[in-house]
């Protein structure tokens, strides 16, 4: 039995002495025991910390050139991509033990997150949102304005992490420091270890930058602490359930910008042109990846794949090929352990489909040979969007014509986020336009659903630009305040 002590917090080096009391939470997995170290915190502590973070930002991060910031972030991602990097090796023990994701899923997760967080991605994200990243450093000439503009980020961003995607918290730290904002992260009780490890990496690379970053652990609803944090922040970014986001929205003080990423639903579409015998296995492997990555727990994951009839391969035959791909992927990247409730929900739902299949309805149930590892159910599109119980349970809905699904999507439009589309003929463009109008924020290809680029307008907004404040100087050639005659 290996015992690992790990921090559920990160404090700036010059602030660590402020904590003297800790408690320990113990997580037990098969052969690992995690002792999670959690500092005892109070409202005054949080106020002092946020004050400290803002001061350190003022003296360093606020004037650090954006190019240097990107260097640090790029280097951090590169270190995390090294298989032998000790914090990565540690995270590959702690995250599976606490979240019950398989080690393979966590490893894949770290890789996809970090691979999309390298220098070029960061530059492109900045360019896509604010055209010229140097606006963040100083006033830059803007030909459209015919003057000079500069972008100012928030002083302090509070980020509330979720537990459903290992290694995602780094994205919110990256966004914060790119805006030259100090950042305080609140880890999720369900996955509290990655964020502190990531900030230690930042500290290794640029100790001064790390002094404006911190991670704390508190339970949602700890009013005192939460209120202190909200009142100190200029912006709040949150990932969480619909209800958690709604209740938080009410608590955030007026004037504090809030980006709330509530739970969303994804789906995929394969048109008849896309269903040829050639490339079928490849397509199935891609769909299997969409359904299996993060054990389907990300907002990005599909609940349903709509498959159009009339192609060279029938939707049912596609399901059978998909089943092989799901099993192959499960051997390579096993699903994590799930709770009794999650397993029970899968068994209950499987039985409903199995009975309908036995009743000679046009229904198919294909399931992992063992336990609840993966499930595929096929039926004709019933006209309503039914969420999956997750954990690699995918519904395949057969449709005569792909445009028929639009009404059922419309009924849940506010919750739709992400779709993989492979129609493959002239209708694709029109269909994508309709999805855009419905409110989707990202349309991609099968196999790409779990890995959005850093350039993505997350939930339809510009995650960086929307937190900026601009200052425009309407003076043209001379900087002494006099206009050229």
């Amino acid at each position: 039995m290996e015992i690992i002590e790990v921090d559920a917090y990160y404090l700036p080096a010059d602030f660590r002495s402020q904590v003297n009391a800790f408690r320990t939470e113990v997580y037990q997995d098969e052969d690992i025991t995690i002792h999670l170290k959690i500092p005892q915190i109070s409202r005054p502590f949080v106020e002092a910390l946020t004050d400290h973070l803002k001061k350190r930002r003022e003296t360093y991060l606020a004037s650090l050139p954006i190019g240097k910031i990107i260097d640090v972030l790029d280097e951090a991602s590169r270190r995390w991509l090294e298989k032998d990097y000790p914090p990565r090796k540690l995270a590959l023990k702690t995250i599976p033990a606490i979240t019950h994701f398989s080690r393979e899923v966590v490893e894949a997760s770290i890789d996809v997150e970090m691979e999309s967080s390298l220098r070029e991605d960061i530059w492109r994200a900045l360019c896509s949102e604010i055209k010229n990243p140097l606006f963040l450093d100083d006033f830059q000439y803007s030909p459209e304005l015919g003057g000079y503009s500069r972008a100012f980020g928030p002083k302090l961003i509070l980020s509330i992490f979720s537990e459903n995607i290992p290694a995602l918290p780094h994205l919110l730290f990256m966004r914060s420091v790119l805006l030259k904002a100090a950042c305080l992260g609140k880890v999720a009780a369900g996955e509290p270890t990655f964020a502190p490890l990531y900030l230690k990496t930042i500290e290794e690379i640029d100790p001064e930058m790390a002094k404006s970053m911190a991670v704390l652990y508190w339970r949602g609803g700890e009013e005192e602490i939460e209120q202190a944090a909200f009142h100190q922040a200029d912006a709040v970014i949150m990932f969480g359930g619909v209800e958690a986001c709604e209740s938080l929205r009410k608590k955030i003080p007026r004037g504090v910008k809030a980006l709330l990423h509530g739970h969303k639903l994804g789906f995929g579409i394969i048109g008849r042109k896309g269903l040829g015998r050639q490339g079928l296995e490849e397509l199935a492997a891609r769909v299997a990846y969409d359904c299996s990555m993060f054990d389907q727990q990300a907002c990005l994951a599909p609940h349903i794949y709509y498959v159009e009839a009339g192609g060279e391969v029938s939707p049912q035959a596609f399901c059978r090929t998909l089943a092989e791909a799901m099993e192959r992927l499960n051997l390579k990247m096993p699903r994590g352990k799930i709770s009794p409730g999650e397993a029970s929900a899968i068994h209950q739902l499987r039985t409903k489909y199995e009975l309908r299949e036995l009743n000679n309805e046009e229904v198919l149930l294909l399931a992992s040979p063992h336990g609840t590892d993966w499930t595929i159910v096929y039926e004709k599109d019933p006209g309503t969007f039914s969420p999956s119980p997750l954990n690699r349970f995918i519904r395949i809905y057969g449709v005569e014509d792909i445009f028929q699904i639009l009404p059922s999507l419309k009924s849940i439009a506010p919750y739709l986020q992400n779709a993989a589309v492979a129609i493959g003929d002239h209708r694709e463009r029109d269909f994508i336009r309709r999805l855009g109008e419905l409110g989707l924020a990202r349309i991609t290809s099968p196999g790409k659903m779990p890995v959005p680029s850093m350039m993505w307008h997350h939930d339809g907004i510009s995650p960086l630009a929307s937190l900026l404040r601009w200052c425009d100087v309407e003076k043209k050639d001379r900087e002494d305040g006099t206009e050229k005659k």
Binding site: L265, Q297, I338, P340, G341, A345, Q348, L355, S386, Y415
Partner: protein, 372 residues
């Protein structure tokens, strides 16, 4: 109502005799014989169940023990009619828990099946709720079967009135809702007359009564022998109340002794009921830990939630029930309740599906809630 086939009447007779032997015996051999015979009939009469068993290679002739009988999960009743004699249906009960009628499970009873249920209600209550063999006024915090004909709890409570209640017994939830004034009057009368009463109903109904008493500063001291029977738990309710809190509220607000607060696990899919042993033990002077008890005509197993393989006693998993009185639909039912087998009986920790799902998912209910 159609006449039931001879072989069904025959097995019903045997089950009835077995149930009416009461709860103080452990005739496992007869239980096994009856279970296998019921399974044989269910496989014969319910084609979809037959196919389900065949797919798993299980036939009545190749199993020898009740625990090999394939169980269907409760949700099966949401998609299929799983009655042995659908044309003989005299009563249909529906599961609750969703606002959409098409997603509610339906369990059909033929006349024989209903008689079996009645017998289990009588025998189980005689043992676990009225071991002292008293007749009391039963006040039911639930709507009557006339108002909710498909609610199995209302049906069962009505039977309790018939078997164990005085003529003053009544249902307290009418078309206009719960009239707490009637309950308070009855409580005062019981106090004044010194005649014990029995209050039955949904667990959450009791909590509403306690909340009301707390708010109004009311406390009752019901005469000794008064008792409560609550069922249903707190599924789908905004507030969870711990069992200890519930029992101490019963004592504080109603003056009902702790051991006389009895909880019952009842399920629409299961004809029999599983009572706490507290009142029976108190009455018999037995000092044993609290548990839900399997009356002799039932068995409960705990299975691994992922593989559904049986687990040894003491381990936590999903409860799987076997009930001879389920002759009319399915003997073996896989619940989604989490629990474990104890030396006395079993413990239930509640429905697994409430609130332990992770991930970025939404239920349709959640979506409709937020939108309205």
């Amino acid at each position: 109502m159609k006449e039931l086939p001879e072989e069904v009447l025959d097995i019903d007779q045997k089950i009835l005799s077995y149930v009416h032997r009461g709860t103080d015996h452990q005739d496992s051999e007869e239980f096994n014989r009856l279970a296998l015979r019921i399974f044989e009939l269910q496989v014969k009469y319910i084609p979809i169940y037959r196919r389900y068993c065949e797919k798993r290679g299980i036939h009545p002739e190749n199993i020898s023990s009740w625990d090999q009988i394939p169980a269907l999960p409760t949700d099966a009743f949401k998609v299929m009619e799983l009655a042995m004699l659908p044309s003989g249906t005299v009563r249909t009960f529906m599961t609750s828990g969703t606002t959409k009628p098409e997603e509610r499970g339906k369990v059909h009873y033929d006349g024989g099946g209903l008689r079996l249920m009645d017998a289990t209600i009588y025998e189980a209550a005689s043992c676990f709720l009225f071991p002292d063999n008293v007749k009391t006024t039963l006040l039911i915090i639930a709507p009557s079967p006339e108002i909710v004909p498909t609610m199995v709890m209302a049906y069962g409570m009505n039977r309790l009135i018939e078997y164990f209640g005085t003529s003053q017994s009544r249902f307290l939830i009418g078309k206009e809702g719960f009239d707490i004034k009637v309950l308070l009057d009855e409580l005062r009368r019981s106090e004044a007359e010194g005649l014990p009463i029995t209050i039955c109903g949904g667990s959450f109904g009791f909590v509403n009564v306690f909340d009301y008493c707390r708010e109004k500063g009311l406390r009752f001291k019901l005469p000794p022998g008064s008792r409560t029977l609550d069922a249903g738990g707190f599924k789908g309710k905004s507030r969870e109340v711990k069992r200890e809190e519930f029992v101490s509220d019963c004592e504080d607000f109603l003056g009902v002794a702790k051991d006389y607060c009895v909880n019952l696990l009842g399920m629409t899919e299961i004809s029999s009921q599983f009572y706490d042993n507290t009142l029976r033990n108190a009455f018999k002077g037995i000092n044993l830990p609290k548990a839900k008890i399997n009356p002799p005509w039932t068995r409960t197993l705990v299975v691994d939630p992922d593989t559904l393989a049986p687990l040894p006693p003491g381990q936590t998993g999903l409860l799987r029930h076997f009930d001879l009185a389920n002759r009319g639909h399915l003997l073996a039912i896989q619940s989604d309740d989490l629990g474990k087998i104890t030396p006395e009986g079993f413990e239930i920790y509640g429905r697994t599906r409430d609130g332990d799902a992770r991930g970025c998912s939404l239920t349709i209910d959640e979506m409709t809630q937020i939108r309205t």
